[in-house]
Amino acid sequence: MVTSLLFILFAGLAIGCALALVAQRNPLYSAISLIGVFLALSCLYVTLAAPFIAAVQVIVYAGAIMVLVVFVIMLLNVEAEERRRTRLGYLVPLAVLLAAVLIGEVAFILYSVPATLDQPPGPSNVGLTMSIGVGLFTRYLLPFEITSVLLLMALVGAMTLARRAAVFGPAARVISGSQPAAPVVQPLSTKEVKR
């Protein structure tokens, strides 16, 4: 009973924050709404008896990723979206229509599939850190290692994308400008590397 009340509270919070995320024009307010969604989902994970995932949700999503997003928003000095008439103005009714279709499909599936799994999660050690660690380092060791390779690739890729000025050499250290400066130092071709 208490869990149901908690579910309703946090589900309402998550949906409200998600609607605010879409409705806001200022990206900074959208980011704060998204942090609200993350925190509400973290509380829902606690009601699902998954404390490790709840903690990682707060630390990684609401901590690391959203700090990165807010940092970029403030670095780029983004203003609110101006209300200009775009040539893609038909997108809003199209989005509403697609959303209605998607919700209808999901509601149909939820009503047509017989609910056989409606026991609420009782006490179990599934969500504890130890069982997750055991699963991660025994049966799912290969995806874990591949994940580390993925993170390394993301690290190198982000540095390559964000530090373009260093590739062009010191004479072209123009950060912004509609005309990009001509490259002074060409990137090494494979032939030069071989020599």
Partner: protein
């Protein structure tokens, strides 16, 4: 009386959040806002994984959520790098201004 939230409640909430994310990606023009809507969709799927994992009493779903979070972190790093590169070249974050690959 009902004894607790059932599996279909979590699935319905996840579907609603995912749909809101889809709508945001379609109607938003700011590329950072679209990025955050994609994060919302990833979180909706994570909620489905955790709900199934908890109701089936199987840890695999939560391991998958762990990996999805790692992929989301990598996506954030690379995606924000791309956003910074777009802003340097075009002085704008509107996706309509970045509809062609050439400068």
């Amino acid at each position: 009386m009902m004894e607790g939230p059932q599996l279909s409640w979590y699935l319905a909430l996840s579907a609603i959040l995912f749909t809101i994310g889809v709508v945001g990606v379609i109607i938003k023009r700011n590329v950072i806002s679209m990025f955050m809507c994609i994060e919302l969709m990833l979180n909706a799927v994570n909620l489905t994984f955790v709900a199934f994992s908890s109701f089936f009493r199987d840890v695999t779903g939560q391991l998958f959520v762990f990996i999805v979070m790692t992929v989301a972190a990598a996506e954030a790093a690379v995606g924000l790098g791309i956003i910074i590169a777009i802003f340097r070249n075009r002085e704008s974050l509107d996706v309509d201004d970045a509809s062609v690959l050439k400068l």
